[in-house]
Amino acid sequence: MIRKKVCLLGAFGVGKTSLVRRFVSGIFSDKYLSTMGVKIDRKTVDADGREVGLMIWDIHGEEAFRKIPMSYLRGASGLMMVVDGTRPETLDVAAGIVRRVDDELGLAAPRVWLANKRDLADDWALPADAWAKLAGDAPRFETSALSGEHVDEAFLALARAMLA
């Protein structure tokens, strides 16, 4: 089995932990619990007939006074960039993280982009142009950790991209 390290990155409160819980355990809790440091989970997926053991690094959210240590990304084969579709300002945070990843690590690992909390339809405020520009050519998904919408697809897309 091929093992791949995947890192989830984004602002605090965008739902990274909820996405991992939905994907790994199939559960959701609307209680917000701030992630301290990094929590590592595992799940195996079948990507076009190939077994991929994902080691999923759920990394604490980026904040003005608490930057994500770039050492967490060492050895990563794929990045999952997460924004909150109800908080457009989280796109700027994600853009800042990507800049640091590119400048400090030059990490060429495949990326997928997730705009999470799609279930909050009334609050959805994702600026389409900025979102498309940020993701570039990378696959992007509008996800809901609450309903599970597009969550498995996003992880599978990253697994496929890492094998390509």
């Binding site: 093992r3 390290k5 440091g37 990094v38």
Partner: protein, 352 residues
């Protein structure tokens, strides 16, 4: 007593070591020259790897956090790795005297102490974002921003402002409601509501309230607050766009064979008190003033596809709009009043 290079006596150093390592679940491993296999190891490895670590073992298999980290030529540090028991540890890769080491150090106590502060700070920011979204939805983005910046106060005492008030409603709705299924009525009403609300929000107006099949909106709360010319001009643009929008809805409905309805608009300018109406348990933002009643009466008097503009508002609009017909109107409860009537040019605007 040995005096170390830094002047720190050995017992003190021993005590410091005990504080750092002894009570904090230290575990270490020296790596072979290949940078992967363990040469020797010690400390509380069972806490991190769930087993004793012996020479010859491959270190990158001891914990998922080590995957991709070995071998290394430069020191690195992975702070606050969550452990299986919910605790946290810092993981270091060290290069000392040409030898590579990995070191675990339990930091659970420090993390727990910091968690409460971080949790409440993040929750506070998320709460603020949620509040801003609610304000945004009910008052419009521009006004929500003003409230957040403290430029407009929402309090029960109220605040006097020169504003322009717009009323608009769907004509013939009561009869339509009688004839149709409730779901069809709801869907139709939403179609017309969007056509009435969007122009208000686009022009910087605040939707004061939705009243059944109509809306009340105010201009002059944001941007050019107190500038009646700007408020009247924005209100007038919104009024015309509402009638245009309703015409588009009607064309769409007619194309699919649905019944069409018209809309009427009233616009007036004057001083109002803006504030919160109601008691502690339920309050709503609103504008109160004589001209507010006038705007409501004008909307009531307007026919389908018509906008009636009170003289004060008409005089403030820039540039002064053409094609409005002056008319004396005996306004109920107010008396004879000069108004200016604008009628949508196409028959489609008025619906049935």
């Amino acid at each position: 007593m040995t005096d170390m290079g830094g002047g720190i006596p050995a017992p003190i150093l021993d005590w410091l070591m005990e504080q750092c390592a002894g009570e904090r679940g230290l575990a270490w491993a020296e790596l072979e020259d290949d940078g992967v296999r363990v040469r020797r190891a010690g400390g509380a490895w069972d806490r991190y790897a769930g087993m004793d670590v012996r020479p010859g073992m491959e270190a990158d298999g001891l914990h998922d956090a080590l995957a991709g980290m070995l071998p290394f030529d430069e020191a690195w540090s992975l702070p606050m790795i969550e452990l299986a028991d919910g605790g946290h540890a810092d993981l270091h890769g060290l290069v000392l005297d040409g030898r590579r080491w990995i070191l675990w150090r339990d930091v659970s106590r420090g993390v727990e102490a910091a968690r409460g502060m971080q949790q409440s700070a993040n929750e506070g920011q998320l709460r603020q974002a949620r509040r801003a979204r609610v304000l945004d939805r009910y008052l419009g983005r521009e006004v929500a921003g003003l409230i957040e910046r403290g430029e407009v106060r929402l309090n029960a005492a109220g605040e006097r402002r020169e504003i322009v008030t717009l009323f608009a409603d769907v004509r013939g709705f009561t009869a339509f409601n009688e004839r149709r299924d409730a779901q069809e009525v709801m869907d139709s009403l939403n179609e017309y509501m969007v056509a009435m609300l969007e122009p208000v929000l686009d022009e910087g107006g605040v939707v004061d309230k939705i009243i059944g099949d109509g809306i009340m909106a105010v201009f002059g709360m944001s941007g050019n607050a107190g500038n009646v010319v700007a408020a009247a001009t924005a209100g007038w643009r919104a009024a015309r766009r509402i009638l245009d929008g309703v015409a588009v809805v009607n064309a769409r409905r007619a194309a699919r064979g649905a019944e069409t309805l018209g809309a009427g608009v009233g616009l007036a300018a004057g001083e109002a008190v803006l504030g919160l109406l109601g008691g502690r348990r339920r309050r709503a933002f609103t504008a109160i003033g004589r001209h507010v009643n006038l705007a409501a009466r004008l909307e009531d008097a307007a026919g389908a596809g018509e906008a009636l503009v009170a003289e004060d508002a008409w005089r403030a609009i820039e540039p002064r709009p053409h094609g409005l017909q002056p008319r004396m109107l005996d306004v109920r409860g107010i008396g004879p009043t000069r108004v200016y009537c604008w009628r949508a040019p196409s028959g489609a605007l008025s619906g049935q």
